[in-house]
């Protein structure tokens, strides 16, 4: 735990400064403002109808977390608070007993019971239902990726109690329960799920206004008067306006048509702080950005590959790039997770490989050349041109060229789809941009899906039994502290192997108009709408 203290205090400092920025002297100050005022904010059309287990992107996620309350919810710092759950307990980290608070109802009047959770999770996990979040249930007994299989690990004891049997122990299982996939659904949903997805009925702090979802235009949320959880709203509702470009959203914020903008466009990085003096936010988010070197390429596997990856990593001047290209809206990486996650550390053993060190980089590169000469092969770095990555990719390539004296270039794919295709088909000719945004505030969520052999997002072929062993020990640790220590140890293995070369953590950059106060951005980069006061 010693190492992580720095991480914790950094988070505390950041959240404190966010509070100061918000002009809120102390959090116990009574909320002022108009209880009926509607906050306007930016968003995007949900990619799918609003079914919690089928919503994995931010556009729909924002709505789901506002209109549903799960067993737990997250505070701004990513801590877990009970919502519907009274307690979530386990002796061994494998068999969990969940007890629910009584009195919770959906906005159609139905009570929230054990069935509301168990049925929704079972539906989400079943192969044939093709829910995009199905893999979140893969540690519950009975789950199968290959056939329709009931979640036998879920057992309803009574209306207010159910048990969950996991396949492998998971000490921080409750951490993931605030994610949208784990929300309850009312009985009425099962009559016609398609219709329900168009007009979902939830139990969260907000509900969708009548005819509130105008496709491709906006979603209007109003306060759910029956909600009595920890996220009680102090405003009248939220209108999420869909923008296809962040520039248009920024113009609206400047023009006074938008109260809160949670993504400042690149074009405004230099000016947003002066455009919105004292009303802007720039804090690390749970987004990790890196690039990966495929193991199937010549020169990039075995000992030679290890040396080359370390050399590449040390030849990138992260501080300068985040400063010049991103105007300080990125934070140079010190590990494989994010500073907003409890247990993040900037002092892992071996993290000096992430420092800019041209001499050492040249030395390691020469050592690799002694194994097999690199010759005048071109080093390329793939990115999708539709995502605004060109500037930093070129800067990284330049940094590598200048340090190592090799020819490093960016390789643009027209769209994300094209780039993904070559990644999936093992057709890359060089490195590839990679990124990860956490689904729930846990170190494991940054490690398991990305570096375990065969995991969904481990596309470049990293495989390390040693890493997987330590990771599994972390997952089955008996306490969160012990788990964190193991996860940090697992990352120290990654720092040696560098299956992914960490670059930086993306910050969340936001601005808000003088019509609103108490704007605090959560660990997941989404403002805590329920706490915003207006008028």
């Amino acid at each position: 735990m010693k190492r992580s203290r720095i991480g914790f205090s950094a988070v505390a400092l950041l959240s404190a400064s966010a509070l100061v920025l918000a002009g809120c002297a102390a959090s116990d100050e009574p909320a002022e403002g108009d209880n009926a005022a509607i906050i306007t904010t930016n968003g995007s059309e949900p990619q799918q109808s609003l079914i919690p287990t089928n919503t994995t992107e931010t556009g729909g996620g924002k709505v789901i977390t506002s209109i549903f309350a799960g067993l737990v919810s997250y505070t701004a710092d990513g801590d877990v608070e009970n919502e519907v759950a009274k307690s979530i307990e386990s002796e061994d980290g494998q068999n969990w007993t969940v007890t629910l608070n009584e009195g919770w109802t959906f906005t159609n009047g139905e009570a929230v019971t054990s069935d509301s959770f168990v049925k929704a999770w079972s539906y989400g996990a079943l192969l044939d239902n093709a829910q995009s979040s199905s893999y979140f249930f893969d540690n519950i007994e009975g789950f199968s990726y290959d056939e329709n299989s009931e979640l036998t690990g879920l057992d309803v004891v009574s209306d207010t109690e159910f048990t969950v049997a996991l396949i492998n122990p998971e000490a921080d299982f409750p951490l993931r329960l605030g994610y949208s996939a784990f929300m309850p659904l009312p009985e009425s949903a099962w009559e016609d799920l398609d219709a329900f997805g168009e007009n979902p009925v939830g139990n969260g702090p907000y509900m969708i206004a009548e005819d509130g979802w105008q496709h491709d235009v906006q979603i209007d949320l109003v306060v759910n008067p029956d909600y009595d959880g920890v996220r009680k709203a102090v405003n009248g509702g939220v209108s999420i306006i869909f923008y296809t470009s962040q520039d248009a959203a920024y113009a609206d914020a400047l023009g006074g048509n938008l109260d809160i903008l949670d993504a400042v466009p690149d074009s405004a990085f230099a000016t947003y702080e002066s455009d919105f003096p004292g009303r802007s936010v720039n804090q690390p988010a749970a987004i990790f950005q890196a690039f990966n070197m495929p193991y199937y390429l010549e020169h990039w596997s075995g000992d030679e590959g290890k040396l080359r990856r370390a050399a590449i990593s040390m030849s990138i001047d992260r501080a300068e790039i985040t400063d010049v290209i991103f105007q300080g809206t990125r934070t140079p990486a010190t590990d494989f997770t994010s500073p907003v996650i409890a247990g993040h550390s900037d002092a892992l053993a071996g993290s000096e490989v992430l420092d800019f060190n041209p001499d050492e980089a040249k030395k390691l590169w020469a050592e690799a050349d002694a194994i097999a000469p690199y010759g005048d092969s071109v080093f390329d770095l793939a990115y999708n041109a539709d995502g605004g990555h060109q500037a930093w990719v070129d800067a990284v390539a330049n940094s590598i060229s200048n340090t190592l004296g090799i020819q490093a270039v960016g390789k643009a794919y027209p769209t994300f789809k094209d780039a993904l295709n070559d990644r999936d088909a093992n057709l890359l000719t060089g490195g590839t941009r990679a990124g990860w945004q956490a689904d729930y505030p846990s170190l494991y969520n940054f490690l398991g899906p990305l570096y375990v052999d065969g995991a969904g997002s481990n596309k470049e072929g990293y495989s390390s039994p040693e890493f997987e062993k330590v990771l599994a020990e972390g997952a089955s640790a008996s306490s969160v502290e012990e788990a964190t220590a193991k996860y940090q140890e697992a990352q120290e293995i990654l720092l040696v192997d560098l299956p992914s070369i960490p670059l930086w953590y993306s910050n969340v950059t936001g601005v808000y108009s003088d019509t609103v106060d108490n704007v605090v951005f959560g660990w997941d980069s989404v403002p805590l709408y329920n706490e915003v006061t207006k008028g």
Binding site: E45, P46, Q47, Q48, S49, T56, E57, L127, D128, A130, Q131, S132, S133, S134, Y135, D138, Y145, D146, D194, G197, Q214, H215, D216, V217, Q218, Y243, T244, S245, D247, A248, A249, A251, D252, L254, G255, G256, N257, D386, T415, F416, K417, D418, A419, L420, N421, D424, A434, G435, W436, Q437, D439, P449, G456, S457
Partner: protein, 309 residues
């Protein structure tokens, strides 16, 4: 004349099938799995992706996909977007907005373009003419997004005369500023076309004859000079209807207008075949109709042009 129009209508049938087939093929030929790409860095389980691919017929060969699409088309079903909305709904939402925007832009560029061009042509070499030339040159050379951002900043943010972006319903009033932006480049071309054409016709034989017959200057200019000068302008406007309908991507983006250009752009990047093809098919029809209208207008404007049976 009617025979001519009928023949042109019939020609639309092969054009329609040819265009939809080619476009469907192009969307199909773009590499990459559209479903896997939907989920970004968080891919769902492989079984889930397969099921969704099957749902959108993406697992079938190209020709089957196309025939299924055409089959649905005849039953009035244009398929669904990846978000599960029917393409018909999306079209019913986007086309009216874009049509309003395009009509406004067309009216603005035609009205102001022809007047400025006419005056400039009549006063060739004078101050007004010189300034019209400079301003039009400026508008042609400055990219639309610059004009868009500048006007948005001045009128939307600084002066507050217009909304910075257009609201969902896109009423006429809010579309004026975007329409001006959209019309700016074409306005400049129309000024130049009209001016050159007017200046040309002023020296033509029929104008000299008309003046010699003792007609008033006003009548000579409006009936003889202007009417004959409009032939190239009308050609340009006809082509422009099409590009205004489809080419407003930049303007739509700046003002957050939920129109045709942006929808097609997003559908192309997502690889959403049915959406792209349905939209483009309608655009092809609009193009063909606009061209037909232009051809028919020629006859009305220029007595030398007649469509024989």
């Amino acid at each position: 004349m009617l025979w001519y129009a009928g023949k042109r209508f019939l020609q639309m049938i092969p054009v329609f099938f040819g265009a939809t087939f080619l476009i469907y093929f192009m969307v199909f030929a773009v590499p990459g799995d559209p479903i896997a790409a939907l989920y970004g860095d968080h891919p769902p389980a492989p079984g889930v992706i397969e099921t969704i691919r099957a749902e959108y017929n993406l697992d079938k060969p190209f020709i089957i996909q196309y025939l299924l699409y055409i089959g649905g088309l005849f039953q009035g079903d244009l398929g669904t977007t990846f978000s599960g909305r029917s393409v018909t709904d999306v079209m019913a939402q986007a086309f009216p907005i874009t049509a309003r925007l395009a009509m406004l832009a067309l009216a603005i560029e035609a009205f102001f373009g022809i007047i400025v061009g006419l005056v400039a042509g009549l006063r060739k070499g004078k101050l007004f003419d010189a300034s019209a030339l400079v301003i039009s040159l400026l508008l042609i050379s400055v990219p639309t997004f610059v004009v868009g951002f500048v006007l948005q900043f001045i009128f939307g943010i600084q002066l507050g005369w217009a909304r910075t972006t257009v609201s969902g319903a896109a009423p006429w009033g809010e579309l004026i500023l975007p329409a001006i932006v959209l019309a700016s480049v074409s306005f400049a071309y129309i000024v130049r076309l009209t001016r050159a054409s007017v200046a040309d016709n002023l020296g033509a034989d029929f104008v000299r004859t008309a003046t010699a017959k003792g007609l008033s200057r006003r009548r000579v200019v409006t009936v003889h000079v202007l009417r004959n000068s409009l032939v190239p302008v009308v050609t340009y406007l006809g082509v422009d209807i099409g590009s205004l309908m489809v080419g407003a991507i930049v303007t739509e983006g700046i003002f957050n207008i939920n129109g045709v250009g942006g929808t097609v752009y997003r559908a192309i990047t997502l690889g959403e075949g049915p959406t792209v093809v349905s939209f483009v098919a309608v655009m092809v029809i609009i193009f063909v109709l606009a061209n037909l209208l232009v051809d028919l207008l020629y006859a009305a404007l220029d007595p030398r042009i007649r469509y024989a049976n």
